[in-house]
């Protein structure tokens, strides 16, 4: 989830400080293809008469196995140019991958930012499909950049994180996906490498796809840097059920900014429960109730009033949630 600062701004508010989640329901109805590995059988029956006596027979059965077509589609989600605040470490650029083949297939991903290759560690599956990066929920693709296998017609929503070191100026985030079995000109065959040992055949997409989203990185008037620490019941940092996540929101305003009645809000991530009494600002506890102090928990988000800010300021808000 993305923390948001609201309030009145003397200068332009930086778009990236606001939630920019666009969830496109790209449920384009796929023509139901014959599944890879399926067997198609055909038998004819014959009816006839000999000497006035009716009889019937069946033909032999012919069986043909369906080969696997390798096809993939990739689509940039969201519209227009993504604005990134320099230093923002958790900005995910959403893409939608569709297995448009007829078999179970994994896809190898690779991404570039401004032409420079990004490591596989910048690639995530947007598990809750909210278009935003949340390390406690979203799944790392991992070294090698290969997705899990998905069924025919299934989709994966993906996120590419732009590392701070790739945020110079403007550029394009480009994501490439290709079938793990192989790519090539349509009709290229990989003998025996399809589902159930059938042949895999490259389809009309060449089993590869690329999608791009332009971005600009600028110094924000104000930014929120969010980080988190996970402590599991067993003492490890695995984001498992029962683990506690401590979120730290660092609100930084620069000299150019003047905010009035600024308020920081951050929704509690889906699948987690707010830990009562865990909200604090600059180390001082804030009560959860809507009362005299500046913080509260409204049942779904933490809200902290930051008041008027007219000089470079850093405020640190922390709170905790438990993974359900």
């Amino acid at each position: 989830m993305r923390a948001v600062i609201t309030g009145k701004w003397r200068q332009r508010a930086h778009a990236s400080a606001f939630c920019a989640a666009f969830l496109l329901c790209a449920a384009s109805p796929l023509h139901a293809q014959a599944s890879a590995g399926a067997q198609i059988t055909n038998v004819a029956s014959l009816h006839f008469a000999v000497d006035g006596e009716n009889a019937s027979i069946s033909s032999n059965l012919v069986a043909t196995r369906v080969g696997e077509i390798l096809d993939v589609r990739l689509q940039a989600l969201g519209t227009g140019t993504v604005e990134v605040s320099t230093g923002e470490a958790d900005r995910g650029i959403p893409f939608l991958l569709t297995n448009s083949g007829n078999g179970n297939e994994a896809f190898v991903l690779s991404a570039t930012a401004g032409g420079a290759a990004l490591p596989a560690s910048t690639l995530f599956i947007d598990a809750d499909r909210n278009g935003e990066f949340d390390p406690a929920i979203d799944t790392a693709i991992g070294a090698g950049g290969t997705t899990p296998g998905i069924g025919p017609g299934a989709t994966l929503q993906l996120l590419v994180i732009i590392p701070a070191s790739n945020q110079a100026g403007a550029g394009v985030i480009s994501l490439h996906a290709q079938s793990a079995t192989g790519t090539g000109a349509p009709g290229t065959t990989f003998a025996g490498r399809g589902d159930n040992g059938t042949d895999a055949v490259v389809g009309s997409t060449s089993a590869a796809a690329t999608a791009e989203t332009p971005f600009t990185a600028t110094e924000a008037d104000a930014s929120v840097v969010k980080s988190q620490q996970v402590v599991a019941p067993d003492g490890t940092s695995s984001p498992v059920s029962g683990a506690t996540i401590t979120y730290r929101l660092e609100v930084i305003t620069r000299s150019a900014a003047r905010l009035t009645a600024a308020q920081l809000s951050d929704p509690i991530p889906a699948g987690t429960t707010y830990l009562p009494g865990s909200l604090s600002i600059d180390g001082a506890a804030l009560s959860d109730a809507a009362d005299a102090d500046n913080g509260r928990f409204d049942g779904s988000s933490i809200l902290v009033a930051l008041g008027d800010i007219d000089q470079p300021t850093t405020r640190v808000v922390t709170f905790q949630v438990k993974i359900q």
Binding site: S59, N60, V62, T64, G67, N104, S179, R193, T198
Partner: protein
């Protein structure tokens, strides 16, 4: 991608060599895949090869070759072929008489005479993809020793 449970690594079309018998009547069902290629002179060449593997969009031809191996003539011969679900009917294969078709397995006739009920509840003219059965009725008696072939073309969904 490959799955380890590869029991069926042999994917050749199982064109059974043992035909079915009945009162001297034998029938052999064979599936071919159809390759279209453009010849240097611009004409389209259609080649039929045994269907070793098919992928969605491929055109296949099912051929029924029948023969009266008995001593008596065979009368009223009807060949009925329910279409496998994964196939969409396209039409008679080149050189074959056109079958009667059905969209319900009960009423047969030329496609143009058939109707199907759409999702909106209204009846509309049947299209090739609505066909569920094909049938040939051989009008004349098949004399002893005589043979024939019928075939239809379909596309893998």
């Amino acid at each position: 991608m490959r799955f380890p449970i590869g029991l069926c690594t042999a994917l050749a079309a199982l064109t059974a060599t043992a035909p079915a018998f009945g009162a001297g009547l034998t029938v052999t069902n064979t599936v071919f895949s159809q390759q279209r290629s453009t010849a240097p002179d611009g004409t389209t060449k259609i080649a039929l090869t045994p269907a070793t593997r098919v992928t969605p969009g491929d055109r296949v031809v099912y051929q029924l070759a029948y023969r009266n191996g008995g001593a008596q003539p065979i009368e009223g011969l009807t060949l009925n072929n329910p279409l496998p679900d994964a196939l969409t009917y396209r039409g008679p294969a080149q050189g074959s008489p056109a079958p009667e078709v059905s969209v319900d397995g009960k009423t047969y006739g030329p496609l143009a005479t058939l109707k199907v009920r759409g999702a909106d509840g209204a009846w509309h003219a049947a299209r090739p993809e609505d066909v569920t059965h094909v049938r040939w009725r051989i009008a004349n008696a098949l004399p002893a020793g005589a043979a024939g072939k019928v075939a239809f073309e379909a596309v893998l969904k």
